[in-house]
């Protein structure tokens, strides 16, 4: 127990700065892998759901179920099978991104106005051209809004994976608990917030760069956190 320590032990921080940066980079790596794989899985499912309404119910139900299961429980489910490994952590993290990514991608594609699609058809676009050159770009702001939420959520969850494997900054959270030492815990928490805010702004910048036409008209993020749609089981 380090009860006499000050709230922030700057000396300790100075000595461990290199380690902190190393953990932050690991944190970002774990996040990037999770969100990247999440997108690869979610995008086709979302397109399928958008094109075939019947698929959306089951896809969304499974993703909702995965999202509702507590993170620690999900990791615990996997440990007997995949062990205390990064694989376990990533499977859990990916499964948490799916619901947000799928819902936002479907909502983004559905938000493309019919007359714009009509116009594209009229101009002779093939179905594939219309999808990639018209619908996906117009859906991009909403899709990226989903990626932003998924990324920020994942950055927070990575800290929990320290309990089962490498957990980026979560390692310092565990250290803080084990030694009842506030400094590493605070450094990890603040570091995690900085990573989350940084990643969020970076993605926002990417969205603005990718969709320059949204810059003039005032695009606002949805007033309701799409996560709020999350735990609502599909109707019926």
């Amino acid at each position: 127990m380090r009860l006499a320590d000050p709230l922030v032990d700057w000396g300790w921080l100075g000595q461990h700065l290199g380690q902190l940066i190393h953990l932050a980079l690991q944190h970002l790596e774990l996040t990037a892998i999770a969100v990247g794989i999440g997108i690869v899985i979610a995008f086709p499912l979302a397109v399928l759901s958008y094109r075939h309404g019947r698929v959306y119910g089951p896809v969304s139900a499974v993703a909702s179920l995965l999202y509702t299961i507590p993170a620690l429980a999900l990791f615990a489910f996997l440990v007997p099978y995949t062990g205390l490994t990064t694989l376990t952590a990533e499977v859990g993290l990916v499964s948490y991104t799916l619901l947000i990514l799928i819902r936002n991608t479907v909502a983004g594609l559905a938000s493309v106005p019919d007359d714009i699609k009509e116009a594209a058809r009229g101009m002779g676009y093939t179905r594939r051209q219309q999808f990639w050159q018209v619908e996906v770009p117009l859906a991009m702001p909403v899709i990226i809004a989903g990626v932003r939420i998924a990324t920020v959520t994942t950055i927070g969850l990575v800290t929990v994976t320290a309990l089962i494997a490498e957990g980026g900054l979560g390692a310092y959270i565990l250290l803080g608990i084990q030694q009842a030492f506030a400094t590493p815990a605070l450094a990890a928490a603040v570091g995690s917030v900085v990573l989350a805010v940084g990643a969020d702004l970076l993605l926002l910048g990417a969205q603005r760069a990718l969709t320059p036409w949204t810059r003039r008209s005032k695009t606002q993020a949805l007033p309701i956190d799409p996560r709020e749609l999350v735990a609502r089981a599909p109707k019926g």
Binding site: A73, Y81, G176, F181, A182, I224, R232
Partner: protein, 238 residues
């Protein structure tokens, strides 16, 4: 499959349900904590969200609270409060870090969506209420509150599930709840117990989700009176 069989047989052994560290006691601890956290969060978030929504001042903070809150790692808050709790709140050492982290988790989305819900109330309705001579307080409590309630309840449901999930982390700092089974099993690498704990927590999370869904259906039967949600859903076409 063998692990799963052992986990299920552990869960279905009556002896594991009773006693101070049994499944029932841990579940009750967990539910109690969730109830307390939700009550505290509602008391903190709803009045502020309503006032900001009513007056329109402080809107920036209210709108962005949920986004900022999402960036704060609950596990980090628990770990940071833990040494402070040892120093300043020496009884129930694990309780306070867990409680505080969960309140920090629960308040922002409730604040944001209470604000959004009050803002979403049709201005004509508010104007009409003033026109028939209602005071500002009457407008707030008699018109805006009931019209905002469905969205606030929807948010409460999502938040409740998240609080159930995150409360499991309290076991890392010595608090009880269902996370106890998972954390204890992790420390001795006991697969079946780990799986059993995971099943119990997952079941509780799903149960809480269903209970709130039922509650919402009873209290606010009109589907998604919170407009932004219904609009999004309509767009999604589910």
């Amino acid at each position: 499959m063998e692990v799963l069989r052992q986990a299920l047989s552990w869960i279905f052994t009556t002896a594991n349900w009773w006693g101070p560290a049994g499944i029932l006691a841990r579940t009750w601890e967990h539910v109690q904590m969730v109830g307390e956290v939700l009550a505290i969060a509602l008391v903190l978030a709803v009045p502020v969200g309503m006032l900001v929504g009513h007056k329109g001042r402080g809107a920036f903070l209210a709108v962005n609270a949920a986004g900022i809150g999402r960036a704060i790692p609950s596990f980090g808050v628990i770990a940071f409060v833990f040494p402070l709790a040892i120093r300043y709140l020496p009884c129930n050492i694990g309780l306070w870090p867990t409680l505080i982290a969960l309140v920090v988790l629960a308040v922002p989305p409730l604040l944001t969506n209470t604000y959004v819900a009050v803002r979403g109330v049709d201005p004509d309705v508010v104007e009409a209420a003033r026109g028939v001579g209602m005071s500002e307080l009457q407008v707030l409590l008699g018109v805006e509150l009931p019209l905002a309630a469905p969205l606030v309840l929807d948010t409460l449901r999502v938040v409740a599930v998240q609080v159930v999930a995150t409360a499991t982390l309290g076991a890392e700092v010595g608090w009880g709840g269902l996370g106890r089974f998972i954390v204890d099993a992790l420390s001795v690498n006991n697969g079946p117990h780990l799986l059993a704990g995971a099943l119990l927590v997952a079941a509780l999370a799903l149960l809480v989700d269903l209970v709130f869904a039922g509650l919402i259906r009873v209290v606010a039967p009109s589907p998604a009176a919170g407009r932004p949600i219904s609009r999004t859903r309509a767009a999604v076409g589910s």
